[in-house]
């Protein structure tokens, strides 16, 4: 989100560490409290996910009994069986395509727009910027039906672009909001200096602003990719050809073939979510650094 020019490492805002002496005991207590709070919320964050994990390794009887978080007789059977029935690779590619193209679209289109809103002066800038922000509040339930009708007329209903275009367009407000703020943090002087060197607008954008705002770009990419990967509503409504199904829809289809048991559902959910977890973990380096003063020097 924030690219900032603050050169220093982030400020320690935690409990101050007093020097040796009588304050020491208090510091220890404070550190214990901090540790407990952090660990406690870690448990809260993970708890439902751990149940998903645990159910995926349980037998059906054990799931019915609810029972404990740790499976008594852990089995890989559920996971393997679900994997086979889900035809993961058939749908993985669809999901990956939609997610990658959507994310790419969002990053490219709205970093350009945000750049214009942030640094270029042109008539109508304020009005257009406000327009995009107001779109943040248009309820999805209202536009779902018109989107399907429109796509039907454009002939893209049921295909991947029928998903990608509305996903990209729907991400506009948040992406512009966050990216424009990130570009704001880049000092004007850099642009002026580049200008003097004869650089054009495109080159300034691509060689100065984009690298400096890379953390914000990674952030918006993740904030786009994750919901897109999990998206269900519009996808469910617009896809009819099983060959186009994304993973969440394939999982739903599995459920509707027959009533599936809870452990199978959780195993399926786990399989669906693992690629995005991998993506998150591998991107989180940029994510993290990005949040720290991205612009060093």
């Amino acid at each position: 989100m924030t690219a900032t020019l603050v050169n220093k490492r982030s400020a320690p805002t935690g409990p101050p560490r007093p020097p040796d002496g009588p304050g020491r005991g208090r510091a220890v207590v404070a550190r214990i409290v901090v540790g407990v709070l952090l660990a406690g919320y870690a448990v809260v964050s993970l708890y439902p996910f751990l149940w998903m994990l645990s159910a995926a390794f349980k037998t059906q009887e054990e799931v019915v009994a609810n029972g404990s978080l740790i499976p008594q007789n852990p089995t890989l059977g559920t996971l393997v069986d679900t994997w086979n029935r889900l035809h993961f690779f058939d749908y993985f590619l669809n999901s990956a395509n939609v997610t990658i193209l959507t994310t790419l679209g969002v990053v490219v289109i709205y970093s350009a727009a945000a750049y214009a809103f942030s640094v270029i002066e042109f008539p109508g800038r304020t009005a257009l910027y406000r327009l995009f922000l107001v779109l943040l509040f248009v309820p999805a339930a209202v536009t779902l039906l018109p989107i399907v009708l429109l796509e039907n007329q454009l002939g893209i209903l049921g295909g991947q672009f029928g998903l990608i275009l509305p996903f990209v367009n729907g991400s506009a407000p948040l992406a512009i909001l966050l990216l424009a703020n990130a570009f704001d943090a880049v000092p004007n002087e850099l642009r002026d200096a580049a200008r003097v060197d004869g650089a054009g607008e495109l080159r300034i954008f691509a060689t100065i602003y984009v690298p400096l705002a890379r953390p914000a770009l990674v952030t918006i990419a993740l904030l786009t990719a994750i919901p897109t990967w999990n998206e269900y509503l519009l996808t469910r409504v617009s896809l009819n050809d099983p060959a186009q199904y994304t993973l969440p829809i394939a999982l739903q289809a599995l459920r509707s073939e027959q009533t599936i048991q809870y452990n199978t559902l959780m195993a399926g959910a786990l399989i669906v979510v693992i690629p995005i977890i991998i993506l998150f973990l591998s991107a989180q380096r940029y994510f993290v650094n990005g949040l720290v003063g991205a612009v060093k020097g």
Binding site: V64, V148, L149, L157, L233, R236, N240, S256, T259
Partner: protein, 463 residues
Amino acid sequence: MIRHRRRTPRPLVGLAAALVLAGTLAACGTGNGGGGGVEPGTTLKMWTFKQSHLSALQNAARTFQEKTGVAVNVEAVTPDNAFLSRVQAAANTGDLPDVLEVHTNGDDFTFGAAGLLEDLADDVPAEWTANYRPAVAAEGTVTDEYYKQSLAPGSKTAGVEQGQRFSVPLTIGTFGIVYANRQRLAEAGITEAPRTWEDFIAALDAVHRVHLKDGGLSLGLQSPSTALEWVMQPMAYGMLGKQPFEALFSNDPAANWRSANGTRVLETYGQITPYWMPGTQTLDIDAADLSFAQGRSSFLVGGTFTLAFLAQNGFDLNNVVTFPIPAPSGGAVSNLSLAPFALTGLSVSATTKHKDAAMQWLRHLAEPDVAIQFARDALDVPPTELGSDPGTVLGPVLGTMVASLGQGESAYNAGYTAYRPGAYDSGRVGEALMNYTPLQQRDAAATGRDLADIIGSYWSQQR
């Protein structure tokens, strides 16, 4: 419209609708008016929204192909909302299958009104419908009553015309059927199916004492209309009899839910309160059925169609006792039975290029031997006359259930709804009833007032 299963999510309806609109225009004039023979080698496409019907339909398709040389390719599209969205999209691209299984007197009328279905009125002769039980032979036809309902503002079937027929019955049945765990009944000393409401409550109590944790009654109350239409209404009908029962839904405070009758019905119904399975108010219909199949509850209220679900989910059918929701002793109807009505039907799309073959396929499914085989395969009730001993043709469990179905004044027909206002929404009415039991937020008299107020609001829309 009677939706016997899954009142819950049907996200596509609207969209669907929209797509159909476009499809309708494209569809004009492509229908094959009939006449001409059926070419062997034709392949029909058919969609059903019931997984439990798939293999039974495929079996029937085999015998059909042997007879006529026409193959039928059956595909199950579930759940309901996915089925509807598929229909929409297909209508739009002109890809509707030749034959569709639909909810009778519901989807068929809506699709028909939008021009998606062939009007079968002239294609189904009397010797064909003679195969069906007389009570259901005409279902799928736009009768006087259905036509009048379609004229009410807000009607879901606006656009149908009197006398049109959009489907022929495939399965019949009703809801309000109690499934009880035979073994647990026996453990509580109960060996016979309860015949009165009091017996039923006593049985619930007895099993509850032996099985404190899992002795309860499960019902998919996330769709609140289930308690209303599957439990309370049959009981109320048995208690009051036809006229006073129907008057409960009127706008007359001396006879509707606000009246002494209303309170009496609610108080009797409220006896069920201690015996719900804990948390049943959060379950959808499938989850409630599953709870029973997995032994987490000992009673379940469902419909004739629930049997197939239980079998599919591994419940031993020898361990089930079924009986209709009984009337209170001393009630107006001493021997309450439930009248069957058509639940699902078969429709032919307006865009089919093989109307003759499709009609033959529908006819084939109506042949008594085919229908009975279908019923046995699908564990569902056929619309066919079954004679005096349905058990021998359908097997003991399904046979017992069919035998308990009745007709006439002493039979409650859940499919008959003309006494209710046109805009009636059983989901909202059911929510008010839920506040009484199991939620216990309101007492009987207050609930009666709530029900009367909601139903009154629907009457105010009438005209």
